[in-house]
């Protein structure tokens, strides 16, 4: 066994007879922020479900150290609970009432929703809801966060703000993160390492390291060049050029 928080060794997975992954091997370092990009339907969600243990691979080995928590794509909050009660789900393991209250206060401040503890999810905007989901997953001693396109339902400006917020939150509470997104710019802005998956059956077509400090602006030269590289890999670069010519 390695000391990596997460590792996949020769993992294959199929739904029935249709293969999603064949012989995929990935190792994730402690504290690393790994983004996974790839065409829709290539198996990104499946990968997270394998990493969380929700799915068992058809073959291969998955090693997992410590606890993992999933941040869901949309509306994983319980609508019948307030912001505070939803976050409290993540603190259920804490026996000490005082410690729980202190944690709750910290988390609400962290996501800048101190004034909204008693609100219900339907009274919040999409961005606020996603922040609550994040706080709930961060609560307690989680080691790994698995995030499945957490910002994809938000508008562009909110998404930019959420990225900045995520970077800030992770500097205060460092975690290992596997972040699935179809947004290449998002991956380039956030990740230490980007895994580019192919169409099904998915394999790694490119692995990129981004060595620039966070937070990174979307217009940072490294972010821009990373986006270009990934578009090239996915064979989308030509389309991109045509689009900018139209503008």
């Amino acid at each position: 066994m390695s000391d990596k928080p997460l590792s996949l060794i020769n993992v294959s997975h199929a739904y029935g007879t249709s293969a999603v992954f064949e012989e995929l091997s990935v190792e994730i370092e402690r504290g690393e922020f790994v983004a996974v990009v790839g065409p829709s339907g290539c198996g990104k969600t499946t990968l997270l479900n394998l990493l969380s243990g929700f799915l068992r691979p058809t073959s291969g080995v998955i090693n997992r150290q410590g606890t993992t928590r999933m941040v869901y794509q949309s509306d994983g909050l319980f609508p019948w609970l307030t912001v505070k009660e939803n976050i409290a789900l993540g603190l259920r393991h804490l026996r000490d009432e005082k410690a729980r209250r202190a944690q709750m206060k910290d988390l609400l401040e962290l996501i800048r929703l101190d004034g909204f503890a008693g609100h219900y999810p339907h009274q919040l905007s999409g961005g606020m809801r996603q922040r609550v989901e994040l706080a709930r997953a961060l609560a307690g001693e989680t080691d790994v966060l698995l995030m499945d396109e957490p910002f994809s339902s938000l508008d562009y400006q909110t998404r930019l703000r959420m990225r900045r917020m995520l970077v800030r939150v992770l500097t205060e509470r460092p975690r290992t993160v596997v972040f699935v997104t179809h947004d290449i710019e998002e991956a380039a802005q956030l990740a230490d390492r980007i895994l580019v998956l192919s169409e099904r059956p998915a394999h790694l077509i490119k692995e990129l390291r981004v060595g620039v400090e966070r937070p990174r602006d979307p217009t940072h030269p490294t972010v821009v060049s990373t986006v270009k590289t990934i578009l090239d890999e996915l064979g989308l670069r030509e389309d991109a050029r045509e689009l900018s010519a139209v503008k």
Partner: protein, 263 residues
Amino acid sequence: MFESRLVKEESSFIRTYIFPLGVALAFIALWGTLSALHLFPKSAFPSPMDVLVGFREEIVSGRLWNDLVASLFRVSMGFVLAVVLSVPLGLLLGHAASAREALLPAVNFFRSLSPLAWIPFAILWFGVGDLPVVFLIFMATFFSLVLAVMAAVANIPSVFFRVAADYGFRGWSLLWNVTLPAIMPQIITALRVTAGVAWLVVVAAEMIAGRDGLGFAIWDARNGLRTDLLVCGMIVIGIIGVLLDRLLVRLTHLPNVRWGYER
């Protein structure tokens, strides 16, 4: 700002109380006019005044109160019994596909059967009095409630169960903390509908299988050709029906079910 809010509150007060009251008064005026025109024989078309006098008689004799209590008691018994038994069965059908396949046709069959078709058996089995009426109310509401609970459970987004598993909810705590709150808005809607049905059925059932109650009062008034008392009964039945619904609507304002009505 403050003034405009006052104006707004005033106008909403007028709309919720004064307007309906106006409509009621207009209706009574129309009724009075029609009865004064003697289109029907007086015995078949009582005037508002006749009914008012009838009310006085019924209240003084205490009969109205007795009938009201009897009907409310039967509705509560039958309805509570139906709720208590339908929720577990609905949960089972919502969760277990095999149970659903086996039982759903039967549930649908009994739901489609008018509860009034059970009246003969209700009397043969339970005689007259409280029991047959409670039985009929149960039959009228139980199957609809089972279906509503089942559909609500089957429609719970699967992400809720994923989240529940992530945070360690299992068994009874899953049921209590996730499944039941997730279906509560739909259950409340179903309760409103079925409570209305129960109130319809109690009148019909008491007409035939009762020796008291509002339904029996109507039947009795008809037999005695006391159309004034008949209208008294009708008015009370209508008012109680509205109040019953108002009462259940309050459940939809509970903070932890509001989400179900605001999407």
